[in-house]
């Protein structure tokens, strides 16, 4: 055996591995094509389409009231906010005057949804880095919010509560009381999140300095939501383009400049505090009034193009409607936050280990139906 073949024995070789579509860390049917050298990630290529239901095409078939419930099935963890996005677009196009009561209730519910989504994310995030207990803590608190929603709109996941023109029904008489109970409860539980996970030395070592996304990259990849804000990119739609009752409340846009997974983690945890404060400001003074304004049974948008964006728990959700004046949209496009956030995965995960990839992916907070639609 000559010298060259000898050294070849120790040559490391890149290999290909399929992560998903059935994999615990991809949180759904996302398939990642990984090229790995040992444990080091060389390339990540997301392969989409496993749960594509052509929602946008279906929207062209449906009336505007029907479109709302399809949006529940996109990012199912912030279904209230998705509903709101479509409703706002339609209402703006029709130039409807929405009662203050509706605006306030929508805001409260959107923030509750954000907390619910973030608690779930927090639980799953812990699981992804190997701390299994967090999952149950997160679900304990999410359960209370789901109960509130169930009482008011009868559903726990696919709410379908907002309709063009207002809300489907008025809030349940218990809504205010239970929301206050939840706030009191969650204020004692949120510090537990920090003591269990955030302060843990292993967790911090795992999270700090990996998956770094610079502000410039965040902007050029179109990152939004906590992913963008973790990199110092001020992109909160609630702040910059207030809708519903967000112009009536004061809250801080949580910004971190580190851009690593830990920054994104902290942004989400801090956002839960901000959401709590928004709800607190509104819950005591829900204005009296109608819970909806009457619209035509068949809504026809005037000819033109309409765009409205909202801040879901994952980032900026845009709804773009082209109407030709008929009862269906000519074209409807959702700009989903998950899709843009996923697109930067290869950029930030390369060079890390498999464990880093999982942690990074967890802080992108991917919901696959939101990406695939």
């Amino acid at each position: 055996m000559d010298a060259t073949t000898k050294t070849n024995n120790f040559k490391s070789e890149e290999y290909f591995i399929n992560m998903g579509p059935q994999h615990p860390a991809t949180h759904g049917v996302l398939r990642l094509l990984l090229t790995i050298d040992g444990e080091i990630i060389k390339k990540v290529e997301p392969d989409l389409g496993y749960i594509h239901r052509s929602i946008e095409k279906m929207c062209e078939r449906d009336s505007y009231q029907q479109i709302v419930h399809l949006t529940d099935r996109m990012d199912y963890l912030s279904s209230h906010i998705n509903n709101e996005a479509v409703c706002l677009t339609v209402e703006n196009a029709l130039k409807l005057e929405i009662p203050d009561r509706v605006k306030v209730i929508r805001t409260i519910i959107a923030e509750l949804t954000r907390i619910a989504s973030h608690t779930l994310w927090w639980g799953v995030m812990g699981m992804d880095v190997g701390a299994l207990t967090t999952y149950f803590y997160g679900f304990r608190d999410r359960e209370m919010i789901n109960d509130i929603f169930e009482e008011t709109c009868g559903a726990r996941l696919t709410m379908n509560y907002n309709i063009p023109g207002g809300l489907m029904f008025d809030i349940h008489p218990n809504f205010v009381k239970r929301t206050k109970e939840f706030i009191a409860h969650f204020k004692t539980k949120l510090p537990e999140y920090d003591t269990l996970l955030t302060g843990n030395i292993i967790f911090q070592k795992r999270m700090k300095g990996i998956g770094i996304l610079s502000k410039e990259d965040a902007i050029s990849f179109g990152a939004s939501g906590p992913v963008g804000r973790g990199s110092g990119y001020s992109c909160d739609v609630r702040k910059h383009h207030p809708y519903s009752a967000y112009d009536k409340v004061t809250f801080n846009e949580v910004l971190k400049t580190e851009g690593d997974t830990f920054a994104r983690y902290q942004v989400r945890v801090m956002e839960m505090w901000e959401s709590l404060s928004i709800i607190e400001q509104l819950i005591d003074n829900i204005p009296e009034g109608d819970y909806k304004v009457a619209t035509n049974v068949v809504i026809k948008l005037p000819e033109g193009e309409y765009y409205q964006k909202v801040e879901t728990a994952r980032g900026e959700l845009g709804v773009y409607i082209i109407s030709t004046g008929t009862k269906n949209p000519y074209r409807l496009k959702f700009r989903s936050p998950g899709f843009s956030n996923l697109s930067l995965l290869n950029h930030i995960a390369v060079g890390g280990k498999i464990g880093d990839l999982v942690a990074t992916m967890a802080t992108l907070d991917l919901v696959i139906p939101d990406i695939d639609r």
Binding site: Y15, I17, H23, P24, A25, G38, E39, G126, M127, D128, V129, G130, A131, L132, T133, Y135, F136, Y137, R140, L196, L197, N200, I202, F203, K205, R206, K353, I354, G355, D356, V358
Partner: protein, 350 residues
């Protein structure tokens, strides 16, 4: 104990010497297999109840009183399941791997002094034997990962090899630190020394350091969280045993729990006086030794479960940094400290 002595004499009076000793060995093996199975099954239940306790759940409490028969039911289910083999698996090694894991776990179990007389196998290199046996177990894991012909399994096996080889050093060295005090590797001898105070008291500072290192390294040896990189559910699916089903999977699963028991039992024997009662309160009743041994071991097992349900998982490079940069140098210094202490007679003896 009198009963065992009676049986021994009765057997030897009944048949020739060789047959009698073979029968005796088989009897002991059966007893230990029973201990193994019962310990495995109930540790699984204990883990699930402890986990539930940490996680705001109830855990299994329906099958039998407080779920006592739950793992029996699970085992029955696993026995009745199909044993699948992937087409490209190396069948011989694939089938062999679980036995490596389970047999080594069983062999290690035979060494422990559950009470003064209740010890099957008291060789003069006891601790050395234990560490040697526990390192054979990793061969099973490596074989399982390699022969499954699955890339995720292979990564798991790769990690397992790296992890076990590294952390064995710490386990060995921290035990060696204590051996400096006892002057013997024989487990019964080590317990004898502790009649004048448990070693963790006798050796005070270095012993406590050694105990901490041992618990960290021991947890890593059993591949449990926060060192469960070998399985790493969220990264590798199930790691090395992804392709195993039915009873073969159960072997790996049981072995993990038995290994946890073994790690805790070693700590009990070396640091906490094995079957000796605290302050000698029940030394007059030797049978209670079993109780004390199990109580101490289960307390340590609980500690390990506590780790598992609280800590996130380390990353592979952090795992190695922890061992090679922190634990190993600390361990070596601790060993010298202990040697000096013994030399200068600074140990505490009652």
């Amino acid at each position: 104990m009198n009963i065992t002595k009676n049986i021994h004499e009765w057997l030897f009076s009944l048949m020739p010497e060789t047959t009698a000793s073979i029968v005796e060995m088989v009897l002991i093996a059966v007893i230990y297999l029973a201990i193994f199975a019962v310990a495995g099954l109930y540790l699984v239940l204990l883990e699930r109840r402890v986990a539930a306790w940490f996680q705001l759940r109830l855990g299994p409490n329906r099958v039998g009183y407080q779920g006592l028969l739950q793992t029996m039911a699970d085992a029955l289910k696993l026995v009745s399941k199909e044993l699948t083999v992937t087409i490209k698996a190396d069948k011989f090694l694939y089938n062999l791997a679980p036995y490596f894991v389970i047999v080594t776990a069983l062999m290690a179990l035979s060494l422990f002094p559950f009470s003064k007389e209740f010890q099957a196998f008291d060789i003069n290199i006891g601790i050395f034997f234990l560490t040697a046996i526990s390192s054979i177990g990793v061969i099973g894991i490596l074989l399982a990962g390699w022969s499954s012909n699955n890339k995720f399994s292979l990564i798991g096996a790769m990690r397992s090899g790296v992890q076990t080889i590294s952390y064995e050093l710490s386990v060995g060295l921290s035990l060696l630190t204590m051996v400096v005090m006892t002057g013997s590797l024989q487990l019964s001898q080590i317990v004898e020394v502790q009649k004048s105070g448990w070693l963790i008291v006798q050796g005070h500072i270095p012993a406590i350091i050694a105990f901490c290192i041992y618990m960290v390294a021991g947890t890593a040896e059993t591949n449990r969280a926060p060192f469960d990189l070998v399985e790493a559910e969220s990264e590798l699916g199930a790691g090395f045993h992804t392709e195993y089903s039915g009873m073969k999977f159960a072997y790996f699963f049981l072995a993990e729990f038995i290994n946890m028991f073994i790690i805790a039992a070693i700590a009990t024997t070396i640091f906490f006086g094995a079957y000796l009662s605290p302050f000698g309160i029940t030394e007059s009743i030797p049978l209670l030794g079993v109780f004390w041994f199990l109580a101490k071991t289960l307390a340590l097992v609980f500690l390990m479960m506590w780790f598992r349900w609280t800590f996130p998982r380390l990353r592979i490079d952090q795992l190695l940094v922890l061992e090679w940069k922190y634990l190993l140098p600390l361990n070596l210094m601790n060993l010298i400290l202990m040697a000096l202490m013994v030399l200068l007679g600074l140990t505490i003896k009652f």
